[in-house]
Symmetry: C2
Subunit: 429 residues, 2 copies
């Protein structure tokens, strides 16, 4: 609805009415946390079988007792499984513990401390910059902030980052050392990179010889609908183009088995893996191989993982559908409220221009928590104050329905307030 | 035996005889790996019950589902358990995944990148030095090498590092930022720090305000004999002296449950823990809390852990006894061959002056592998080429007996060769 077309009195009355129903919602005493893309209990229960897999096991992997020290690159079985899942070679997989974020952090920190394959340690350079397609994943941007890496915001389009811009930046500035990517079911916009974007990423000219694509393939197999987006295999393209060394691909079972107790890996060229092994030798006595073996046995192969992911989808889909349906009921065709309809991943991305902060604030007042507005942008600066990340996975359908009522009311109020502020500024001074 | 007292011909005949029996050993086709302090299969089997602990669990810790994200400082139950075991407060425990080495590396890397509590990042200083009591743990020294930290070797005495030397170094040079300690059943010499050493460490004057004791309490509960060495609680001393911030204490269940799949922690002042939480926020989505909960349930409390450690001791003691007995049979009273008789830990430390490299080389030729001679010293420089670390935990008693025959023969040969070289240099030119 275009509130600007309403007379002031009518708008004030409408706002008062909305505030009244909002107060009622506030009194329901329900609180819903939608801040992070967490799996819900029912999803976690899908993988309880993990704990039984080693019951009659001899704990052996390639002759090594997985309960003991050693094997810093991860056990053969789990490297092979990730290789099959990601379309890479087993020798290109370096499998660790539960947190792919931890691997990303470590790899950036290694580059800062030691450089990459003989390059100058990034700590010794006057500036290091990363290209940050936005909206994007806040924890990627946090790593840059923690490690003093300058972020260059690039718009996220329908088929990936604005590659014209990316190519220009990366080609002309040797201080640009990396780019963050979530290529499939992107966090938060839910889009998947087109073939052309993948090809351009793999083949673009980079001024920095130690440029790396931090390719966070977090949702590589996380389809929700009947149609699965197809992501071109960047390893295939890069292998052909001779640019394989520029890719660090990350993946994990966080949203396949247990979010906090899965297996994460980095897939990369054998050159990169050789360097990582050298670096990690000093840093650890090896990953938790008991958990790796349990995962390898439980997940078995790609076909079996696909079956498990279907069960996840069956739990998640009604939640995504509910969000979409409720938004549509109030805002279908509304030019001021837009939201994504992803085929997979964990988020619905909502855009309401100049209102995001206020909407999150209002929802918060009714105990419905979203990630802070702006969090999906570098330095938390959303120029248009418009993006809100909806993570519908954790709440039950009942809770979600409540949360959406709150959100929808908050959207309406924020927009009315905005129109009143702009059109009738004097009444608010 | 003092081979120098024998006539040359007799010595040559004795050596030839020894070489002959050594050749026989070589032909037995047994190989034994004693390079690392690993638990053996029987020890690992003690904790298989770990895998059943969560069977009927609700996976909850303080209301949090341990299978999900969150709780970067570790779950309450495991922090409380470590607190009880180490004699610190639960709020002073930061519990992570399986590798205490990884925590040590991360903490040094954090200091290099960010400084500690507002100090200049160590990366920005012209030099950073650590005091390294030696012989010591090779992986501590590796971290220094990897991160470009200069090592100052200080002799390890019967009751800990030479504190007169340590105090002088630490007081006068602000570039000295740390010291590596294994305070109980020290790796490799097996000694335990005296009360006086602990007190002096906690209270000594340090030129660097961000000086840290990297107190690797790896064998805090790992007694083998009836007598358990008593280590004074450094937290108590430092708390009283107001120097608590200078201690990072590390511990793990690596040699309590599974070496590669246990829980490691750092215990430190609440100031330190607050900083660590801040640093780790950027680095991880949290540790594997499923494994933490399993450990908390399985290990239960100190009393129960002590019972488990008794079972470990019952497996390990005969191996330590065998090493001691066989060395004594050949070298009791021999002024040229000395070895430790530790009450706990994982190592017997053997000293044979000017012969360590040759002994390890000879043993290796008979497929009995020891950690490289020199590995227990910074930069792998053992000035006297004398220290060999014996790790008797992994081999069976039969394998160990074989390995000791090889070692003993290697000692004799190396010493005879040395005497021949020195006394009759011309015959070897």
């Amino acid at each position: 609805m275009d509130y600007k077309k309403l007379p002031k009195e009518q708008l004030l009355a409408l706002l008062a009415e909305e505030q009244k129903s909002f107060k009622k919602l506030q009194k329901e005493g329900i609180s819903v946390d939608m801040t992070r893309g967490r799996p819900c209990k029912e999803q976690l229960d899908l993988s309880v079988g993990l704990l039984d897999t080693l019951k009659n096991s001899d704990f052996k992997s390639s002759g090594v007792d997985v309960r003991n020290y050693g094997c810093p690159e991860g056990i053969k079985e789990i490297r092979e499984l990730f290789a099959e899942l990601l379309g890479v070679r087993a020798e290109e997989v370096f499998a660790q513990d539960n947190s792919s974020l931890s691997l990303m952090y470590d790899l950036v920190q290694f580059a800062k401390q030691f450089g990459i394959m003989g390059s100058t340690p990034w700590n010794k350079l006057p500036a290091v910059k990363f290209v940050c397609p936005a909206p994007g994943y806040d924890r990627h941007f946090s790593i840059c902030e923690a490690l003093g890496i300058e972020m260059i915001t690039v718009p996220m389009l329908e088929d990936g980052p604005d590659m014209n811009l990316v190519e220009t930046i990366v080609k002309n500035d040797p201080a640009v050392k990396g780019i963050w990517c979530v290529p499939k079911y992107s966090n938060p916009t839910g889009i998947t990179y087109s073939d052309s974007v993948v090809e351009r990423l793999a083949t673009m000219e980079t001024a920095a010889p130690d440029f790396r694509i931090f390719y966070d393939n977090a949702y590589f197999i996380h389809v929700l609908k009947d149609t699965d987006d197809k992501l071109k295999n960047i390893f295939d393209v890069a292998r052909k183009a001779g640019t394989l060394d520029r890719i660090y691909m990350f993946a994990s079972t966080s949203k396949i088995t247990f979010a906090g107790a899965g297996i994460a890996c980095v897939a990369a060229s054998e050159n990169n893996i050789a360097e990582l092994k050298k670096r990690f030798f000093f840093k650890t006595i090896g990953p938790n191989k008991v958990n790796q073996l349990a995962h390898a046995i439980y997940l078995k192969d790609k076909n079996n993982v696909l079956k498990l992911m279907k069960k996840h989808a069956d739990i998640l889909r009604p939640k995504f559908d509910l969000v979409d349906r409720m938004l549509a009921e109030d805002f279908a065709g509304d030019e001021f409220v837009r939201w994504s309809k992803p085929n997979g991943g964990y988020f619905i991305s909502l855009d309401v221009k100049s209102c995001a902060k206020r909407i999150v604030e209002l929802a918060n007042a009714a105990n419905v928590k979203f990630t802070n507005a702006g969090a999906t942008f570098p330095y938390r600066i959303d120029d248009h104050d418009m993006n809100i990340r909806i993570a519908p996975s954790v709440p039950s359908l009942q809770e979600l329905e409540f949360a959406m009522k709150v959100l929808i009311s908050a959207i309406k109020q924020a927009r009315m307030e905005l129109v009143l502020k702009k059109s009738f500024a004097h009444t608010f001074e």
